[in-house]
Amino acid sequence: MNPEHPSESLLERSLAAWDVPEPAHDLTDRILAHNADAVEALARPASTPSFARTDETPTMLPTEPRPSSNLRPFLTATALGFAAAAALLLAFSAGRETARPAPLTPATPKVEINVAAPVAAPAPPTPPPAPAAPERLIIEETTPGLPQAPSLAPDSPEENAAPHPPRPPKKSLKDPFVDGEGEDETPISGDLLNPFR
């Protein structure tokens, strides 16, 4: 400690000379007042008997598990959302796969059925009892994988969702090209088309 001692280095003398002022007399009270809430919070879990037994291992706070339980609804909803999205994706891909073999068949059979349908049921407007074939054909035509009409691809979901695709041919029942009885009544179509008559 003697600054004049030759063996005492300058560094050690300097370190010994670096004094620190004493803290304020009321620092303890200020610290306790500043942390009164924290001390009270420490007292709360100790008042419950379940935590009184775990004094030897105080690493677990009683409030620690709560955030995970609060997250449970959110995690459940997220999982359900992912499951729904996955199911939609699977259903969409399955629909595309079932429609894939269709491009081998040309679109001409549709025309044959449309012509044959009025013959099977000439007068009544009830649809023929074979809805599976036309629907399949429409799906095939509007499949985006078709090499013939790639521009029709975006319309395929709407057409697949259409409930009654073969309806337009039914209107053609009144078309004079189908109805062979009234050759002299050909102006009917003209009447229908002309709104002034």
Partner: protein, 196 residues
């Protein structure tokens, strides 16, 4: 460095009963904990903050240290490896380092330094005051991790292993930092005293 360590006070070691009672939030134990340890924490904070620090800023930092201490107290294990004073200094170190990172310290005048001993002669008082200001400025020029290691060793008598725990580094790195800190401080002081 032995001289400095001999002058360092080593309070801060609490008995296990007080620590457990404080972790339960018993007021008497919380008061006892602060009374026994606050001088050590204040000295560490004062030296870490450097010569530009004011008393009020040091007191604010001490309060912040204890805020963290009371939050972390339930996780302190009395049968663990760390002594309570070392555990407390670890929290103080992290609090001070966070503060120093947040606010770049400004080098100001040394008006916050402690007064010299009253029983010294005036010339020795002056020399001592100058030496204290010089070492405070030189220590303040060290990086915070190196500064912390040096202060913990020189003024708080922490072992190499305890400093390694406090700074979360290996003991070899602690030795390296202490060696480089000592070299830097010696060079800074010699430069000051070699000037005409």
């Amino acid at each position: 460095m032995n001289v400095a360590r001999a002058s360092a006070s080593l309070p801060g070691e609490l008995d296990e009963t007080t620590i457990v009672a404080a972790s339960r939030g018993e007021p008497w134990a919380a008061r006892r904990l602060v009374e026994v340890t606050q001088r050590m924490v204040h000295r560490y904070a004062w030296r870490m903050l450097g010569p530009g620090a004011s008393r009020s800023r040091a007191a604010e930092m001490v309060q912040e240290v204890y805020a963290r201490v009371f939050r972390a107290l339930p996780r302190y294990r009395t049968d663990g490896a760390a002594r309570f004073a070392t555990w407390l200094l670890i929290i103080a170190h992290r609090t001070l380092v966070d503060e120093l990172r947040r606010r770049r310290p400004e080098l100001t005048t040394l008006e916050g330094s402690a007064p010299g001993r009253l029983d010294d002669r005036p010339d020795r008082m002056r020399e001592r005051k100058e030496l204290g200001e010089q070492i405070a400025a030189a220590v303040h020029d060290l990086s915070p991790p190196m500064r912390s290691a040096f202060i913990l060793r020189a003024y708080h008598d922490r072992s190499i292993a305890e400093i390694a725990d406090a700074l979360d580094i290996d003991p070899g790195t602690v030795k390296s930092r202490l060696h480089r800190a000592r070299q830097a401080l010696q060079a800074a002081l010699e430069e000051i005293h070699d000037e005409p």
